[in-house]
């Protein structure tokens, strides 16, 4: 019997994908400050739509939590996300010269729509635990990316990118991740199902950075 925490096992099983994410050119150039601004803007507009879907996703998970205690934690997580990262994003959009209406009017790319659809369908239709496992990589990889590239920020001259990155070092953001990991450690479904959701979401994270770097378009 494996006595490791479920969240640690998942993190470990996704390690090769996460390493590719840390070293994705979009991520590296963003933390170095060399990423072309048009790629960054493309990413930010797509990501606002994704975050709006993810807020919905967190509320779906709250509504499907299997106990009063888990429900309370998920309500706290949804509230933390609403009042930190998501709220910060809207102020950040303004700094870039966009209104929220601009952002909401953007057509999602195939990868952005596919990833948020995967999250929403999983959280709506599979078990709460698989939904939670699918939701975690987005939050967790961003914190690990920030930690992995922490030193690069000292050389980074791009105020915009520094400001963008700063949220992923904050207490409330890391607290949100710890709460989700703590919940997931008590999951009572087969580990293989959690792993499948967690790995697929990790792969979508990788595809998401490629989508942004290549400024993806619909082919038809």
């Amino acid at each position: 019997m494996n006595t490791a925490r479920i969240s640690d096992r998942l993190r470990n099983d996704a390690d090769s994908i996460w390493k590719k994410i840390f070293n994705h050119p979009f991520v590296v150039e963003l933390y170095e400050g060399t990423l072309p601004l048009e790629k960054f803007k493309f990413y930010v507009l797509q990501d606002y739509n994704y975050l709006a879907a993810d807020m919905k996703n967190l509320s779906i998970l709250s509504s499907r939590a299997p106990s009063v205690e888990a429900m309370r934690e998920m309500v706290e997580v949804a509230h933390l996300e609403a009042t930190t990262e998501f709220k910060g994003y809207e102020e950040f959009l303004k700094r870039l010269g966009y209104t929220i209406e601009d952002a909401m009017g953007i057509e999602p790319t195939p990868t952005s729509l596919s990833y948020s659809s995967f999250l929403l369908a999983t959280s709506s239709l599979k078990t709460f635990w698989e939904g939670l496992a699918a939701t975690l990589p987005c939050f967790w990889t961003y914190a690990e990316i920030a930690d992995f590239h922490r030193d690069k920020l000292k050389e980074n001259q791009n105020d915009l990118y520094l400001e963008w990155a700063s949220v992923y070092f904050t207490e409330p953001y890391l607290d949100l991740i710890d709460r989700m990991k703590g919940l997931l450690d008590n999951a009572n479904v087969e580990y293989e199902k959690l792993k499948e959701a967690f790995i697929i979401a990790s792969k979508y994270e990788y595809l998401y950075w490629s989508m942004a770097y290549n400024m993806e378009k619909w082919p038809a």
Copy 2:
């Protein structure tokens, strides 16, 4: 065209039912301090289960909110409820000598189960707006009951009942109601559908007080 706020119209259309609620013997005796303790305890245990279902209900509504702005408001409402009334209830249970496990182990009465099922089914399966209209009377009647019987509390010698009532005068509780009313005022479905949900929920509120006063049992 009716230019009154939707929430005001609903309140007005439910007035005869609400008046019966204000004057229900359970409510009157509770605010006077003369309600038999066994009836109160019966009520409190049923109501904890109801509130747990209502937390789920608020999360369902958050997940179905039709705009980013409405979603944010509902996440705030769910968080307010989780951290005020619902949290207070758990401390209150302890004062009565119950654990949360005691409360969760109670079999819901027909009326309690029926009302929470009605809320959950409406919020899950009808429009967001009908779900919101069905959800409002529980919160709103409690605030109006408190205001209606405010003077009685001066004579009320029962510390337990005074403490129970105190939450319905607090800022966060009234804020929660104002936010829900503000949302509902922007509903874009036929008024008749909202009215149906609001009226039925108001009737269930009345039945709920009768259930508690009669310490209802399943007949079969």
Copy 3:
């Protein structure tokens, strides 16, 4: 370990409630042909609304079936219900001089609304298996009622009641029940949860007959 079929265990655990149902005055008088027509009409109009909700309920269960095989069975069950009992009901309404619009315009009684809300909330928000366990008593008790009172029909002179009862002896109707029982026998959740859903639904069945016999009204 209990090796009996799950459906047999549930049937056995609900036996005392089911006996009360078989001997409920509404049921007895209906099969004897002595039930006052106004009570019967009251029942039929309420039941049409209930059956419409139950069709929705069967589709919800189809959508939540945990395997391709179970989904296919539930689609078959939903189709059987749509093309037999439910379709027959609409023709029956016409014989009584009602249009479908008449029936849909009827305000559900507290018990009718509560029971259908319980079914819809359970099928939407609990496990598929609990939803299925909650759904079965409605179909199954009607078949056992018919069998229990089979002999009374020989003396029953009321063509309307004879026609109404005839559907519960038909092959497709009994096939529908067998399919649901067969599915439920493979449930993989704790028996106690299934029992809770099955017992509550059985109690609502009893309350439903009383509602019809007393021609229930909303008290407020």
Copy 4:
């Protein structure tokens, strides 16, 4: 005011994408009989998983239908799909030497998972009408593809491909499409929302054929 049938408007607005679909090399080679078998097998295994998700999708739509009449139609559509195309697919898998377990054990490609997630999320979380609009292109394009390439089948020597294509000319399959179009023609949401769902699904159809032709793999 546009008086054309909604389904005709949607078909017209998607015309440029549909033409690309008709002329996609996978489609052309399949109808000519020259498609490499390994590409076909790859497609068939992916498509079985997709069809299983689409059965779920049709049940979700049944459960969310806004009227008794629409619900009945959707139950009929789900039943038609379960007993024709989907059932036929399982027999077809056997002819190719696969068991259903083989097919269910296949890891969905990014495009297959994304498309089915999009359908399930749309049908679960948007209006019934948008869900229906998203669901239609899969069924409808297959019928138009068959009609468009009808003449090619005379020269096609590949029995396997001929058998595969035959279902898309059958009465029950075309009936299913007509029923969905008939429903959609009565949709009461803004046309632009229906168009968005219909166009995105059409684009996913195109991506799906490319996925099969390229035997897509997850990049990370």
